[in-house]
């Protein structure tokens, strides 16, 4: 499903990723790890064509990221839920509207949207905050909204960048349980984190990008 073959990535001749090769199979749960600045976020960005590899091949759903056409990028992104490290919520839309966004852009009807969003909000325990705006939420609450937005479209692949950085151990446990339950339903889950305790909690395959 996802292939990295001898991937190099540089910013201004400064190589971040060197000769990175790995495979992620359909339905897997995988941790990508490495210290701060190692290139975890960069690796995830390569998967959604936010960045392109300098050398090497990145294949997602058998599509080569290097030669994807700009007009196909939105459709690729709809297949991959992305929980951003800095959440990227829209400050002038409520939690509910933020989450329904992923559905609206795919042209889904509003009754289906209302139903799905309500379910996912209950799953991340934020249903009571559905009409609040992101800026009035705590860091941890925002993180859960970001996760809900990524999951609501029920994408075949979910990527989460440091999804528990702002969460206490209890809440982090809840989030990992949610990710696991989606994984059990067939979603491929990729989590980038430096957090050893999270990896212990998840008990899954670990790809250390610095050891490649």
């Amino acid at each position: 499903m996802i292939e990295f073959v001898h991937v190099y990535k540089s910013y201004d001749k400064n190589y971040i990723l060197r000769d990175l090769t790995f495979n992620i199979y359909k339905g897997e749960f995988v941790f990508i790890t490495g210290p701060s600045g190692a290139g975890k976020t960069t690796t995830l960005k390569l998967l959604t064509a936010i960045e392109k590899p300098t050398h090497g091949v990145v294949n997602v759903f058998s599509i080569g990221i290097s030669d994807i056409k700009p007009k196909d990028i939105p459709f690729l992104r709809r297949k991959i839920g992305f929980v951003f490290q800095d959440f990227k919520l829209l400050p002038n839309r409520t939690i509910f509207q933020n989450i329904s966004l992923s559905l609206e852009i795919s042209g889904i009807s509003s009754t289906v949207i209302a139903n799905n969003v309500t379910n996912i909000l209950k799953a991340v325990e934020l249903y009571t905050k559905k009409d609040d705006y992101p800026l009035s939420l705590s860091g941890g609450e925002q993180q859960r909204v970001a996760i809900a937005r990524a999951l609501v479209l029920n994408p075949p692949v979910l990527m989460a960048d440091e999804p528990t950085g702002n969460l206490d151990d209890n809440t982090a446990g809840i989030v990992i349980d949610i990710l696991k339950s989606f994984n059990n339903k067939g979603t491929t889950v990729i989590v980038a984190t430096h957090d050893k305790s999270l990896i212990d909690l998840g008990r899954a395959r670990v790809i250390d990008i610095t050891k490649n």
């Binding site: 196909d72 459709f75 992923s102 609206e104």
Partner: protein, 316 residues
């Protein structure tokens, strides 16, 4: 594989999806307008201002142009006849003259003034010296023939042709038409056209530019939002179409506002009898006609559209 998925999905619910999208575009456009009422109101005011300036210019231009044209078109020719002592002879000459002149193409009407009516004619057309003229013995004045031309025929060349023809006729003492004025006005009309076009172009570009800035102002506020939308998988059209709807709605509303404003100002103008005053100078003030309004309306919509086009281009 993703392409296969896409086409499959595309065929299953294509129509309901299209309707949802269309519905959404308008919903988003109105949501955007509502969520940034202040910004949109500013944009609206700036655009109204620009269209208002454009409309005022057009109104002035059309009236100046009409005025100039009226100068050119109202040209008449005065033919002063030789004074013959022989009354009978005189009559024959005049009849001959009138017949000859009537044959000329483009002559609309001819009027003969005997020396009596010639004086009345002078008194009527030169009110400033009428008291002086009243003391004059009519018999001192020559008879006059006045020709009105068909406005379509009038041109400088035509008039000078007629001038030379009439001058050579029997019994004509002197032919008068304001050639100098005609020349100058012809020149002026030409430059009015050229400069009018230039100013209009300038205003058109400015109004695109003002729509551009007005919409840019709105887009700048949404820059981060657009970035996020793209990351979440929104297509270009999903982001841009509501903007176009917004831009065109804004342009149309501003246009309507400015035309109403102009119309009210025009009515006030008429109300205070300026029209009466100006008609003293033979200036008739007219409002824009439906066609002109429609053209400017199209320009407004176009500038809203182009403004959005240019201001939203850089994001994609």
């Amino acid at each position: 594989m993703i392409k296969a998925l896409l086409t499959l999905e595309g065929h299953v619910s294509l129509i309901s999806q299209k309707i949802n999208y269309l519905n959404n575009y308008f919903k988003i456009a109105f949501l955007n307008i509502r969520s940034n009422l202040a910004g949109n109101f500013f944009a609206f005011l700036i655009m109204s201002f620009s269209f208002f300036v454009m409309l005022i210019f057009t109104l002035c231009y059309i009236n100046v142009y009409n005025y100039m044209l009226s100068f050119e078109k109202n040209n008449t020719m005065l033919i002063f006849l030789k004074d013959s002592a022989n009354y009978h002879n005189n009559n024959i000459i005049v009849n001959d003259l009138l017949k000859n002149i009537k044959k000329l193409h483009g002559v609309k009407s001819i009027k003969y003034y005997s020396y009596n009516s010639s004086l009345r004619f002078l008194i009527k057309h030169t009110p400033k010296i009428s008291p002086v003229l009243k003391t004059i013995d009519p018999r001192d004045l020559p008879p006059v023939i006045k020709i009105h031309f068909n406005p379509e025929y009038i041109s400088r060349i035509y008039l000078s042709n007629v001038y030379f023809r009439v001058k050579s006729l029997n019994g004509v003492q002197f032919v008068y038409y304001s050639r100098l004025l005609a020349d100058k006005i012809g020149e002026f009309i030409f430059f009015t056209k050229v400069i009018g076009l230039l100013i209009f172009l300038f205003l058109f570009i400015s109004s695109i530019f003002i729509s551009y800035s007005a919409i840019k102002l709105i887009i700048l506020k949404k820059q981060d939002e657009i970035e996020i939308l793209k990351l979440v998988g929104a297509t270009n059209s999903y982001i841009r179409i509501p903007m176009f709807i917004e831009g065109v709605i804004g342009a149309v509303l501003s246009f309507i506002t400015s035309i109403i404003l102009l119309f009210l100002l025009f009515k006030i103008f008429i109300y205070y009898h300026f029209n009466g005053f100006l008609s003293y100078f033979k200036i008739e003030v007219v409002f824009l006609n439906a066609f002109e309004i429609f053209v400017i309306f199209l320009i407004a919509v176009l500038s809203g559209f182009l403004g959005t086009y240019f201001s939203s281009r850089k994001f994609f």
